[in-house]
Amino acid sequence: MRSLTTIADLTNDEIEEIFSLADAAAKLRADRPAQGSIMATLFYEPSTRTRLSFESAMQRLGGTVISCSDMRASSAAKGESLADTARVVSAYADVLVVRHNWDGAVQAMAQHADVPVINAGDGGHEHPTQTLCDLYTLRQEKGHLKGLTVVLCGDLKNGRTIHSLVFALARFGANVVTLAANGMELPQYVIDRLERDYDYALAPVAAGDLSAVVSETDALYLTPKQPHQLALFTQVDQVIQARLNTMTAGLRYDAFYMTRKQKERMKGGAANGSYPTIGPDFLREQRFQDTLVMHPLPRVDELSPELDKDRRGIYFKQAAYGVPVRMALLKFLFDRRPGEAAVGQQALRSYQSPEALGPQCRNANCVTAKEPISAPQKFALFTVGEIGTLILACSYCDHRFKVEYIGHVPSKRYCAYDHALGATVGAWLQSGDLAIFDSIKEAEELGYEPFSAGPQRELMDENEIRSAITEISRQILRDCRDPDRLLLLGVRSVGTQLAQRMAAEIEAMLQRKVELGEIEIYGSGDELKRLMPSDPDLGPLILKDREIILIDDVIHTGRTVKSALSIIFRSGRPQSVRLAVLVDRGHREVPVKPNYIGKSIPSSAKDRVRVKLRGLDREERDQAIIYTIVNPARDAQSLSGKEKT
């Protein structure tokens, strides 16, 4: 069974095969190969062309179509998961065509469906059937794909059609020039993948005259190592577009591929008015006389209506090819059932965390963030670059990020990742012993210890910690405007322990109870919960108009506090939030500042400061300690050895 969730699911030969089928669409229509088959269209986002052309294609193949007029009004609105919808609808149809507003949602459904699933657009991720239509159009009009120069214009960041297309053009050896609207450049992961999978290289342009042309920003030059040239300019604004055109006058342009501003997908709204457009001037230019103008439609105002009557404006033709190409694709997928896996996908080492906590995709619109139940975190793991940075790529949405910390599951040890550990990581991955963490804090929450640490030095002993807690409690009470509104919120788990002790002190001073809660930064699920009073009838923790004291053991980069503030403000608007920490070790990366500090200590980036409290992890006494965490380059030997304790 074959699904099509990304253009990478198809090899070039298979794409050619689909195109040959499309060439003979009339024959397909006569043969009716889909007689008796049913296609279900599940569209969670509006669509006209894609949906109608799919439905038309299926009917012309002799099959029938079932669909929901609006998925948002279906059982999805009642909270049915993507996984369940996929399982259920698999029993009703022989192929599913899905469009969804989350990145990676179609991939997640394909995992749970028993029939082929076709991606008709997933969030800002990919739209592979549009790409097939685009390639087919270019091939029909120009006779070939290799060596063509295609200019991609406009919103290259949010346009999913662009992401699929750019990979496909690269695979067929076309040159790609990009003219991105300001702030809408190709995402880094797309560029990374071009470099890694298709051997296109990215280098900054040094030429003085280009930097003079491109104002206030950087220019990028993307070129395949062999055999063709490709230029990628970003952040080009309208004023300078003309000069840029002159500069690149030596290039022959085969097609302009325009896109619409993806307003609905933008976190940022309308950019500052410099969206590239194609107007009547374009038509008059001699060097564009054979340049096709393509557009996935719908268009807004980026194409002049004069272009509609011109032979070069082929976007309606492009839309018309949607039916034969989709007929060909359906026929292709039906012929491949059952039991055939995609060969187009590159075999990569895949990674799922063996621990309860693990790395999370950082794309906020990824299906793994939106509906974890349908899409458990899953990644491809590989190294890139000369220094061997270890990269995780989300299996659903393709977003990539660096691995910071790794752990060895049997020995419960962690360390920062370093390229010297490459072989070790490979071995651990093979044996299923590799844990990956987004932060040290996450590792420690799971009970991991550093692999080997330098000599420990005590920063605070039991007495100092006790008097710091007392002093901070006194200050909290001094600054408190209204004890009725006071809420102590500990950051799990050492912060919670401290918060409990402070609550006891404050209660003793006030002669009354105070409310105590816990905030969980790395968990999934209940981020905020009440600890005291522990009456379950009290309902959820109310943050509105409270004076919150956020309590953690150590402040370092400040990112934990930043995350805590996000969680707090998602749940309610407090009157104030003050921050109490036992140790401030400096090295802030976000602008947060504690109000109450037990002790400030200088530390180096490699140092690790830990607060150990009685009762947690079988500690016998309270202490704050500092040590240097393992230097992996030096200790790689000992790590790869049989260090199993």
Binding site: K157, N182, G183, M184, E185, Q188, S215, E216, T217, D218, Q235, M266, K267, G268, G269, A270, A271, N272, R362, A364, F401, L550, V561, K562, L565, S566, F569, R570, R573, Q575, S576, V577, R578, L579, E589, V590, P591, V592, K593, P594, N595
Partner: protein, 185 residues
């Protein structure tokens, strides 16, 4: 009752302060090519552009300037939590692995900066985020700090600090006035 206004900074002082802040921004950035300025609408944007100009003059570096409107992220608007924030970034910029300087005219309760941090997070993961403000009037309600400050002011809750800038108001000036017995902004 006539409003009592005290001029805290005149045109020359504003200019000098911005110049000094630009130097501080440069000093704080280990690699100036990773620097990105993000102005908070609306006076923060004018300040950001001026800082960028100063940086270009003194270090010959073109620093990208982004514009953020935090209104949809503000926690004091109840609808903010219901709808997904749209239109926060008028000029999105690449932030991954960059050193971001968030710029506003006045930092006070810290709520605007918190909202801006949220908006920046939506764009990616910067290496570091700093906050620069022409005026820090203290009295924070959130544990947020300003790293680069033009001038610290100890203004009471009943006072209003007003920053005028050439671009918006035709004049560079910072004044403080009594806020006629209203609850705080």
């Amino acid at each position: 009752m006539a409003e009592e206004r005290t001029v805290l900074l005149g045109p020359d002082e504003v200019g000098r302060t911005i110049k000094r802040m630009a130097h501080e921004v440069l000093e704080r950035s280990a690699s100036p090519n990773d620097l990105v300025l993000i102005g908070i609408r609306s006076r923060g944007v004018h300040l950001a552009r001026r800082l960028a100009r100063r940086i270009r003059e003194s270090a010959d570096i073109d620093v990208p300037v982004g514009v953020v409107d935090v209104t949809p992220y503000r926690d004091d608007r109840t609808e903010a939590r219901q709808a997904a924030p749209v239109g926060a970034f008028e000029t999105p910029v690449a932030v991954d692995e960059k050193m971001i300087v968030l710029i506003d005219d006045v930092i006070f309760r810290g709520r605007t900066i918190r909202a801006a941090l949220e908006a920046v997070e939506g764009l990616g993961r910067p290496k570091r985020i700093l906050v620069a403000a022409l005026i820090d009037r203290g009295a924070r309600e959130l544990p947020i700090r300003a790293d680069i400050i033009g001038r610290n002011i100890d203004a009471g809750d009943d006072q209003r600090v007003n920053v005028s800038l050439q671009e918006a108001d035709g004049l560079d000036q910072v004044t403080v006035a009594d806020w006629p017995s209203r609850h705080r902004s």
